[in-house]
């Protein structure tokens, strides 16, 4: 297959057939003030559980039947780089021996600049990693501080060149925007500095205030909350700069050069099948969505009892799958393929309103959200259209 643009519909359609695996590594040096993910805070719980956890992942992989050769493996977190390259490599090996890997498999991890050394990079490549997503978050020291990050902007540059030197085929940078402490100038500089490092891929996430986080408490205490309009501005400034720098938006938060769209991501948005291992991990296969237990004690206890650590399973019929394809595809820049349900939505009063307001359009036979920052507003209405409505 020729190298397709990251936002190509053909690529998204192909991704639907990909099989991937997600492995959740919950350990973090400390919890970031905005984070509400299932993590294990080492500053609270120590590292004593790491070895047990890696062993548990191995056991859990053994509990899951075949899905076919994997096109993508993604280590997310938490902070996957809190595990040693050897530990991560052992999990890759386990996946390889259990399911087999495609020749062009993408093996990716999220990494924290604090954990990154040339040595780490080289070892990760040697155990099979092809892609790294560096948690840069910002190049502004003040913003990094309020986000609770301990690195500085030059660390990021060092990480990128180190990853390149080690032979990573794809290097991505993650940024967070829209904190009250961030100014427009600061954001423009962050974007410029990030693009200057010529990453293959960038993910930009609007800061979200989740209940129960330190950030939520700070805002209750009077700190400036993120402003929707400012976030929309920042998003547009980024998108323009990224496009100029050769990175195409292929999903609400993701931009990449041709050939560098994240396979695991694309497969998820295309409603493909994926396995999930580890704390709070989710999978989607054979008409089921399952999720794992989100607390480490419960998760480990299940594994010890030789049980899959499931917290819930949702069964999907053909209509549910069509609905998810619509819901997820609307996040993609290429849109969701036309379907009976999509047509039904387009013909509904809300669908017509969105078309009229220029929020959505039909482009090359796909329904596309033209204003990606309004995707949830569209999806909310698309979800409430049922087959009975048309």
């Amino acid at each position: 297959m020729p190298t397709l643009a990251a936002d190509s519909g053909e690529l998204a359609d192909a991704a639907r057939a990909w099989k991937s695996a997600y492995v959740h590594i919950p350990f973090c040096l400390r919890r970031c003030p905005y984070c509400d993910f299932a993590i294990v805070d080492e500053s609270v719980d120590g590292r004593s559980l790491v070895d047990r956890y890696v062993a548990a992942i191995h056991l859990e992989i053994g509990m899951e039947g075949g899905i076919g050769r994997l096109d993508a493996i993604n280590f997310g977190g938490g902070t996957p780089s809190r595990l040693s390259p050897m530990q991560l490599g052992s999990i890759v090996d386990r996946l390889r021996s259990t399911y087999g890997l495609a020749d062009d498999v993408e093996i990716s991890l999220e990494a924290n600049p604090e954990d990154w050394t040339d040595d780490t990079a080289a070892q990760l490549v040697s155990v099979g990693f092809t892609r790294v997503s560096l948690g840069a978050q910002s190049f502004d020291g003040e913003v990094l501080a309020v986000l609770g990050r301990n690195h500085i902007d030059t660390d990021i540059a060092r990480c990128v060149s180190s990853a390149r030197g080690a032979g990573f085929a794809s290097v991505s940078l993650d940024l967070i925007f829209g904190h009250g402490a961030e100014s427009e100038r600061s954001w423009d500089q962050t974007v410029a500095k990030a693009l200057a490092l010529e990453p293959d891929h960038m993910s930009t996430y609007a800061l979200t205030v989740e209940a129960g986080t330190d950030l939520a408490r700070a805002i209750e205490g009077g700190a400036v909350p993120p402003d929707e309009d400012l976030q929309a501005d920042r998003y547009e400034r980024f998108t323009d700069a990224a496009e100029a720098g050769g990175l195409r938006r292929y999903e609400v938060s993701n931009h990449a050069r041709a050939g560098h769209a994240c396979r695991y991501n694309l497969s998820t948005w295309s409603n493909g099948e994926y396995l999930g291992f580890g704390l709070g991990a989710h999978d989607h296969r054979r008409g089921q969505r399952s999720r794992n237990k989100a607390r480490i004690e419960g998760y480990l206890a299940s594994i010890d009892a030789d049980e899959r650590p499931r917290a819930g399973i949702e069964n999907l019929d053909a209509h549910d799958e069509a609905r998810d394809t619509l819901m997820l595809g609307l996040r993609l820049a290429c849109g969701t393929p036309m379907s009976e349900l999509a047509e039904c939505f387009l013909g509904s009063p809300k669908g017509l309103m969105f078309l009229d307001a220029g929020v959505i359009a039909v482009v090359s036979g796909r329904v596309v959200v033209l204003k990606p920052m309004l995707t949830d507003a569209v999806v909310r209405e698309a979800l409430s259209v049922s087959a009975g409505d048309c």
Partner: protein, 600 residues
């Protein structure tokens, strides 16, 4: 029962001054109800009455009391509503009594409502026993309150009975005073039957149950009876009393109060205030004072989901079985679809009806801002009654518009006189006289357009006097005013449900405030939404709700599609209470925005 041993009385009290607790205590002390069966607010049967601590429907309970003189007396406690909306019901209940307990909170003093009802009782010739309640409260000031009551009613402050309905202190003394001070009824047992209907309610099994007071003659089960006002002949299937459980007695003699069941299902046939007589021995003069209930406040009620229109009609029909003062007719709004224009006795009545429709009939409703009944005099000499701003004829054809005025009584601590005057002035009020009840409290009289009261007058009065002022009003007359209709346009389309009739001098201010308030209440949409206020074709104010720019969780959610989907579905569910007006989603509270624009 010998009439000399009968005492019919009601309790007049302001909300929260302890009327229902006192009734509970009287029932308990006389053994009408055992402590085991006691529950608070025994006579208030509706959930709403209990929750709000108010009485909406009247009730009558017979209590046997063995007095210190060795005789057993029959006490009929006639429980009455205590709110300005139900003045007519109160007056009917008072007609059924010879005496009334004027119950006043020892820490609060006399309130306008209580005073208005006390005057009503005195005008009806009732003997009043003033009672000070809650004397055990730390903030109680019984001496001051006693002086205040004595100042209003005459008599000596030290003669006033002090009780604690909560602890039961003073209850024995009160019972003796009821027997000793209140007059016995003086009906003529041998005359033709005349009985007053002082309330009615609908029972699913029994049909209409009427509360009656026999004035002359006697009413027995099986009698052929006639209702004078409706000229309806029926048979008294059952008569009896409540103790407080229903107890058929077969007969109610002169001076007694009790219930009457005829098996009739149509509440309109038995009107509150009507006189019951025998068909074969008719009385010639009805008892005084039957009047048709007159709705004062009007509002549109629309189902949020248009498919619920028929359910709303059925619910209103059922509610009316119990509330003949509720009137309604179908109405169509371009913005809100099919609904009903409803007439209410007042704001509380309106609130109660709406709440009962939503709770007891599981309806989700949009209510429009309340309005009053205007009269438009047309250039061709016709008079048009206008219940809804959207029905106001073209101003070109109107020579004048009249609006209802009310007589308002306000009782306030004297330090707030200035504040109250200022408020009344801003509401186009005319000052009447002013009486000091005591050096600290004053009674003020005004004439104010009802439309101003219906808006936010009461809330503002309360907030400006820190809750200390109280209010009562009664209809005065219709007067011509310089009124205009302010229309609101949403996305350039007029929204009839937002139209309001206001005084011309206030149109600009009102329009500006309304538009601003709507901008706050209506969430941002996918496109810019202009909001305009207009008088005729002239735009007097404009604001724009800017299009929403971000509505997305732009972070990775790790393959947790189920959770994300459920979150979006929940958010969508939360939007269901929005009403689509054109392509704009409007929250229900926006339709009563006019009530919450405050002083701007």
């Amino acid at each position: 029962m010998d009439q000399s041993r009968i005492r019919n009385f009601s309790i007049i009290a302001h909300i929260d001054h302890g009327k229902s607790t006192l009734a509970d205590r009287l029932l308990e002390r006389t053994g009408a109800i055992s402590e085991r069966d006691m529950r608070a607010q025994l006579l208030d049967e509706m959930d709403l009455e209990r929750e709000r601590g108010i009485t909406i429907k009247a009730n009558a309970v017979r209590i046997d009391y063995l007095a210190n003189d060795g005789h057993t007396y029959e006490l009929n406690l006639i429980d009455t509503p205590g709110h300005v909306d139900f003045t007519y019901e109160v007056s009917r209940s008072l007609e059924a009594c010879e005496g009334a307990l004027l119950l006043v909170d020892a820490s609060q003093g006399v309130e306008a409502q209580t005073l208005a009802n006390a005057y009503l009782a005195i005008e009806s010739g009732l003997e009043i026993i003033p009672v000070i309640n809650k004397i055990d409260l730390p903030a109680a000031d019984p001496d001051r309150v006693a002086a205040e009551i004595a100042g209003i009613l005459g008599g000596a402050p030290e003669d006033i009975i002090a009780v604690s309905a909560k602890s039961g202190a003073g209850i024995d003394e009160l019972l003796e005073a009821i027997v000793g001070h209140l007059p016995a009824p003086e009906g003529k047992p041998d005359d033709p039957l005349r009985a007053l209907v002082f309330d009615s309610y609908y029972d699913t099994y029994r049909g209409v149950v009427s509360l009656v007071r026999v004035v002359d003659g006697a009413l027995s089960a099986g009698d052929a009876i006639r209702f004078m006002a409706t000229n309806e002949d029926l048979v008294a299937d059952e008569v009896g009393v409540r103790r407080p459980m229903i107890e058929p007695t077969g007969r109610l003699g002169a001076g007694e109060a009790g219930y009457l069941i005829t098996g009739v299902k149509d509440i309109d046939l038995i009107r509150v205030g009507d006189t019951v007589m025998h068909v074969d021995r008719p009385a010639f003069t009805p008892l005084a004072g039957y009047a048709e209930p007159k709705p004062m406040v009007f509002s549109g009620l629309f189902p949020t989901d248009g498919d619920d229109f028929e359910r709303l009609r059925e619910a209103l029909d059922k509610l009316r079985l119990n509330d003949s003062s509720l009137v309604y007719q179908a109405e169509t709004s371009r913005a809100l679809g099919f609904g009903f224009r409803c007439g209410f006795l007042g704001l509380l009545h309106m609130e109660i009806v709406r709440e009962r429709l939503e709770r007891e009939y599981d309806l989700d409703l949009v209510a429009t801002a309340p309005s009053v009944e205007y009269v438009a005099n047309l250039t061709d000499g016709k008079r048009v009654i206008v219940h809804s701003p959207q029905d106001l004829p073209d101003p070109a054809h109107i020579s004048s518009i009249e609006e209802p005025y009310v007589k308002v009584m306000i009782i306030t601590p004297s330090e707030y006189i200035g504040t109250v005057m200022e408020l009344v002035q801003s509401k186009r009020g005319e000052m009447g006289d002013m009486t000091y009840l005591s050096p600290e409290r004053v009674e003020l009289h005004y004439i104010i357009p009802l439309a101003e009261i219906v808006f936010d007058f009461f809330d503002q009065l309360k907030s400006r006097t820190r809750g200390y002022a109280s209010l009562d009003y009664e209809p005065e007359d219709y007067r011509a005013s310089n009124l205009v209709r302010v229309d609101i346009l949403l996305n350039s389309q007029p929204v009839d449900a937002f139209s309001t009739i206001v005084h011309k001098d206030r149109a600009q201010t009102y329009g500006r405030a309304m538009v601003k308030r709507l901008r706050e209440l209506i969430p941002r949409q996918m496109f810019d939404v202009p909001i305009q206020a207009a008088v005729g074709s002239r735009i007097i104010s404009r604001e724009t709700i800017k299009a929403r720019r971000k509505d997305v969780t732009a972070k990775c959610y790790g393959g947790d599609i189920t959770r994300k989907r459920k979150l979006l579905e929940r958010q969508k569910e939360g939007k269901k209470r929005m009403k689509m007006v054109g392509s704009v989603e409007v929250p229900q509270e926006a339709f009563v925005a006019a009530l919450t624009i405050g002083d701007e």
